[in-house]
């Protein structure tokens, strides 16, 4: 799956480009990377550093904003402009940056605690407004930086430092949440699959509006193996439900005839369900279309992810639709209001002397 959008991407319209050849090194800052050995964040950082040159943008016109958490150290490692802000607030700060400046490519790096717990409000409102930015949500289903408490995506019953008797919280499904919050671009990818990760990043950058990319990220220290089902060569065929635009959704270990053994069909109750492909005609399989305006099917697909211990999850772009962005419209109002007006000092003079005035001589 690759993006079909021509360069320059609509999502980056207004951001100055360069013909100079760039490499991953150009985007690597001189700061020592300090995640735990084996942390999934390393893979994502490498992928982003080597992907950014593909965009051909002036490096100084890229801004990364993060909140608080392990993954939120991300901006320090990129040779772009960046702000490591406060817990949960990155989407709000990025909204100000993106609205103030059309010529910036704005990225948010956040985690499951940062985005879905303390910052849940900002996340949903950024998505409904459709501010032009890409949000990378590193989901490791645990609090890493505070040393191992359960997170809003942890499975029910999880035993952690703060839940010795098991968590009684029901988790969020980030993709379902984003779809419910009117997001125009929602995708899920995996830290260890560089190729898929890169293709999703490209599609997200191409999209004009808020792109939410959930990245399954392994935390070997506090939640090792949370995504084993989709990473283990023995199980991943049955665990990853690949969403490929225009293709029937099929997955699972191969049958004797070389075809995947499982597929997705619409269910009688209006959702979707997994079936044995041997038992349904090929034509009944759901053909994936992320561009339909109605989010119902995308939502139904998002429900195939387990709330509990992960053994199956759709991976790919759930939704990619067009809707005017908040920042474009806000800027357009200013442009309209400013067109053909006096210079600002003259206008200021007449503004403050408006209303009923009188002169004392």
């Amino acid at each position: 799956m690759t993006t079909t959008e021509p360069l320059p991407f609509p999502g980056l319209k207004g951001v100055p480009t360069t013909d100079e050849k760039q490499t991953g090194k150009d985007f690597t800052s001189n700061q020592e990377v300090r995640w735990c050995p084996g942390c999934g964040d390393y893979a994502v950082l490498k992928a982003v550093q080597s992907f950014l040159p593909d965009l051909g943008l002036l490096r100084e016109n890229i801004v990364f904003v993060s909140g608080i958490g392990c993954s939120s150290r991300f901006p320090y490692y990129l040779e772009t402009y960046g702000m490591h802000s406060i817990h949960g607030r990155a989407p709000a700060i990025a909204t100000g940056i993106a609205t103030a400046r059309e010529d910036l490519s704005v990225w948010v790096v956040t985690g499951d605690g940062d985005a879905l717990s303390i910052g849940g409000n900002h996340l949903i409102h950024a998505m409904r407004r459709n501010v032009n930015m890409t949000i990378l949500l590193f989901n490791n289903r645990i609090y890493g930086l505070t040393k191992g408490q359960y997170s809003p995506t942890s499975e029910p019953g999880k035993v952690t430092k703060s839940t010795p008797a098991g968590s009684v919280d029901h988790p969020f499904n980030p993709v379902s949440l984003a779809l419910g919050a009117e997001a125009t671009f929602v995708a899920r990818t995996i830290d260890s699959d560089r190729k898929h990760l890169t293709s999703v990043l490209a599609a997200a950058a191409a999209h004009r509006g808020t792109s939410l990319v959930e990245i399954y990220q392994n935390c070997p220290i506090f939640n090792d193996g949370a995504f084993d089902a989709i990473k283990n060569p023995d199980t991943k065929a049955d665990a990853i439900i690949p969403l490929v635009q225009g293709e029937p959704i099929r997955f699972g270990h191969l049958r004797e005839d070389g075809q995947p053994s499982k597929g997705i069909v619409r269910s009688a109750t209006g959702g979707v369900e997994v079936v044995d492909t041997a038992e349904v005609p090929e034509a009944d399989l759901l053909v994936h279309d992320a561009h339909v305006d109605d989010p119902t099917t995308a939502f139904a697909l998002s429900r195939l992810t387990d709330a509990g211990v992960l053994h199956q999850s759709p991976i790919g772009i759930f939704r990619s639709v067009e809707r005017p962005t908040y920042d474009d419209q806000a800027r357009a109002q200013i442009t309209t209001a400013s067109a053909g007006q006096d210079d600002q000092r003259t206008a200021l003079s007449s503004l403050i002397s408006g209303g009923d005035t009188w002169t004392v001589i």
Binding site: S29, Q31, L58, R59, E60, N61, I62, V63, V65, I68, P75, Y76, L78, E79, T80, Y81, G82, M83, H84, S85, I86, R89, A92, I93, A94, T95, G96, I97, T99, A100, R101, D103, L104, N121, H122, H125, A330, R331, Q333, I334, T336, A337, S338, Q341, Q344, R345, A347, L348, S349, L351, I352, S353, G354, G355, D356, T357, W358, T359, V360, I361
Partner: protein, 644 residues
């Protein structure tokens, strides 16, 4: 009939009615007429927190007080000379503020048994002698209004709604106000509904004519225009002046203004006003909450805009963490707190100045934030420009502390010449500022985001889009100069001190304080900040009129204090600090200058009363000098607040 004309030097009128009776509009129109006539004036709106509190009840009473005079005045007045009460509840709620001998005009129409009970009256006060101490005039204003507008075929309810204009017409006649501004206003306001427009104009004129012809009012009054310094004036509320000041600061700095905010009483008007002025490149972002409002504003500042957020005390509580981030990232940001009664939700529509310590200290860690406060509605303009000057020059969040009284109160404002406004230079960083030697000994250039200006100690402001200056900032402690994360103990100690030093350095840019000590013999200094300027000034005039000496100084800058403040305090034997809180400035002054100031503190949700304050000042003078007695000034002296 011919009427007697009496000269007055000043009058305080209070219009009071149900919150649906249009009293704010009535007061506002009367104010505009008085401003156009050339009187000096001050106003004090007072309305319930509920949009429509139960009709006819005490909590539903809304009022508007206007004080106008033939000389310069400083306050909306302690207590009214004239009360216009549109229903029993308005009479009952406002009577405690009326002194014997003052005038009360009552619309008798709503004095039914039911309404009297709703207002908590056992009997009808218009019929017993409970109002015998007042000059009472009872008129069926509503009935006459309905009769006057009959020709327009409005429903009885709509017809009766014009009664506020009838009352306005009557009072306009009584005080010789010009009527053109109100007629023009009504024509514009109701242009889309000709019947309502004509009914209101007719009611307004009928009220005037009623005054002219009835025998109920034998006297009309004349209050001559006040001498004011030459210039063009307009009447302005604090919130409007504040919004204009922000627009001006944007223009003067050449920065696009970005207001990130969330609606809250009494600050929302700043959002409403700025949202009208997009032609100045102003973005107004109504965020999902207070935190997002300031977050977006800070993001915009990072991107090279002038970030502004506006709120009241409860909103400041929510914004504290982001203010701390602005302190750490050293980005310009203007934080407006239009203070209201607290704590918690408190008194949303009433005034107070109890957020000073919150502004000063309400953050974790050593987190200094400069504080600026306006002293009158019109002064909100200059204070906003000053807050922007400090924020941009010193790369820092700045607190602008207005309050409910300034926000909604109004006064004539001399429109400033924009050529006189300070020019504010954002001085963006455009080039590397630091030399580094690589391992081969070759020198290359680098950008250090925390390398400071020697004079201001401000750091460079390099905005995205500037090639070669890419850098990362954040809430973690910065290494001196290079700005990378640093956990070094010595560095932290240094950075904490340098942030404080930068804030202190602002004092170098402040003009000397103006001390008002006309005789030069005062032993007592009265110090204030914010909206208490008017009451303190009026109280000092009373004290001086009684033959005593008193000095006044008013602080625009609460952090840092002006450099000469300590020396000024030392010149006096006693210092009194009147505040609408329990002594917050007192605490700061005591801590910093080790002087035991005398507090004068009221937290009633209302401005301080000049007469009461004058008594307290007189008491302090007498204990300090042993010269005066408490009766020399204050309430016992005739209510004349100024001596020209």
């Amino acid at each position: 009939m011919t009427k007697q004309v009496k000269q007055l030097d000043r009058v305080i009128i209070r219009f009071a009615g149900d919150s649906g009776d249009g009293m704010q509009l009535t007061g506002d129109r009367f104010t505009q007429e008085s401003a156009a006539f050339g009187n000096d004036l001050q106003t004090l709106p007072n309305f319930p927190a509920e949009i429509r509190a139960p009709q006819g009840t005490l909590p539903g009473v809304s009022s508007f007080q206007v004080h106008f005079a033939d000389h310069d005045i400083l306050t909306p007045g302690d207590s009214p000379d004239v009360l216009v009460a549109m229903n029993p509840a308005a009479l009952k709620a406002n009577l405690p503020d009326m002194k014997p001998g003052t005038s009360i005009i009552v619309d008798s129409h709503d004095f039914s048994a039911r309404n009297l009970i709703k207002a908590g009256y056992a009997g009808n006060p218009l019929e017993d002698d409970s109002l015998a101490d007042y000059a009472l005039t009872v008129v069926d204003l509503t009935g006459m209004t309905v009769a006057a507008v009959k020709e327009f075929g409005l429903s009885r309810k709509d017809a009766a709604r014009a009664k506020n204009m009838f009352a306005l017409g009557l009072l306009s006649w009584m005080y010789g106000r010009p009527t053109e501004t109100t007629t023009a206003f009504l024509e514009k306001r109701f242009a889309k509904s000709p019947d309502i427009r004509d009914a209101n104009i007719t009611a307004f004129k009928a009220g005037w004519n009623f005054g002219e012809t009835t025998e109920a009012f034998a006297v009309k009054y004349e209050i001559k225009p006040a001498p004011m310094s030459a210039g063009v004036y307009r009447n302005i509320t604090g919130n409007l002046a504040l919004a204009y000041g922000l627009v001006a600061g944007g223009v003067q700095s050449g920065l696009p203004l970005f207001l990130g905010t969330y609606p809250i009483t009494p600050a929302s008007d700043v959002l409403h006003e700025l949202s009208k002025h997009k032609r100045f490149g102003i973005t107004t972002f109504q965020a999902e909450d207070e935190i997002a409002g300031i977050g977006a504003a800070l993001g915009a500042s990072f991107a090279g805009s002038l970030g502004v957020t506006s709120t009241s005390g409860p909103g400041i509580a929510l914004k504290s963490e982001t203010i701390g981030l602005a302190v750490m990232t050293e980005l310009p940001l203007v934080v407006i707190d239009v203070q209201r009664g607290g704590p918690s939700t408190g008194l949303p529509t009433k005034t107070e100045q109890a957020d000073l310590l919150q502004a000063m200290f309400g953050r974790n860690g050593e987190s200094p934030v400069p504080i600026v406060a306006p002293q009158s509605p019109g002064d909100c303009f200059a204070a906003a420009v000053e807050a922007i000057r400090i924020a941009v020059t010193y790369r820092t969040p700045v607190m602008l502390l207005s309050d409910g009284m300034l926000a909604n109160g109004s006064e004539p404002w001399q429109i400033p010449d924009i050529d006189e406004l300070p020019v504010i230079d954002p001085a963006f960083a455009t080039a590397p500022n630091h030399e580094v030697l690589d391992k081969d000994g070759n020198s290359t250039e680098d950008f250090w985001p925390y390398l400071r200006d020697e004079e201001t100690l401000a750091r460079p402001w390099a905005i995205p889009g500037t090639a070669g200056l890419e850098h990362r900032i954040g809430g973690l402690e910065k290494g001196d100069g290079h700005g990378n994360i640093s956990y070094d103990p010595g560095n932290h100690d240094y950075m904490v001190r340098i942030r404080q030093a930068k804030t202190d350095r602002i004092a170098d840019s402040l003009p000397p304080l103006e001390v008002d000590d006309p005789s030069g013999r005062a032993k007592v200094l009265v110090m204030g900040w914010g909206s208490t300027y008017g009451p303190i000034g009026a109280a000092c005039r009373r004290v001086r009129k009684a033959g005593l000496d008193v000095a006044q100084v008013h602080l625009r800058h609460l952090n840092p204090f002006p450099k000469d403040l300590g020396e000024i305090i030392k010149r006096y034997d006693a210092v009194m600090i009147p505040e609408m809180n329990l002594g917050q400035l007192s605490l700061l002054i005591r801590a910093k200058y080790l002087v035991d100031v005398v507090g004068y503190n009221h937290v009633r949700g209302l401005p301080l009363k000049a007469a009461e304050l004058a008594e307290a000042i007189t008491d302090l003078i007498s204990t300090t000098t042993g010269e005066a007695t408490a009766d020399d000034a204050g309430t016992s002296s005739q209510d004349k607040e100024s001596v020209r």
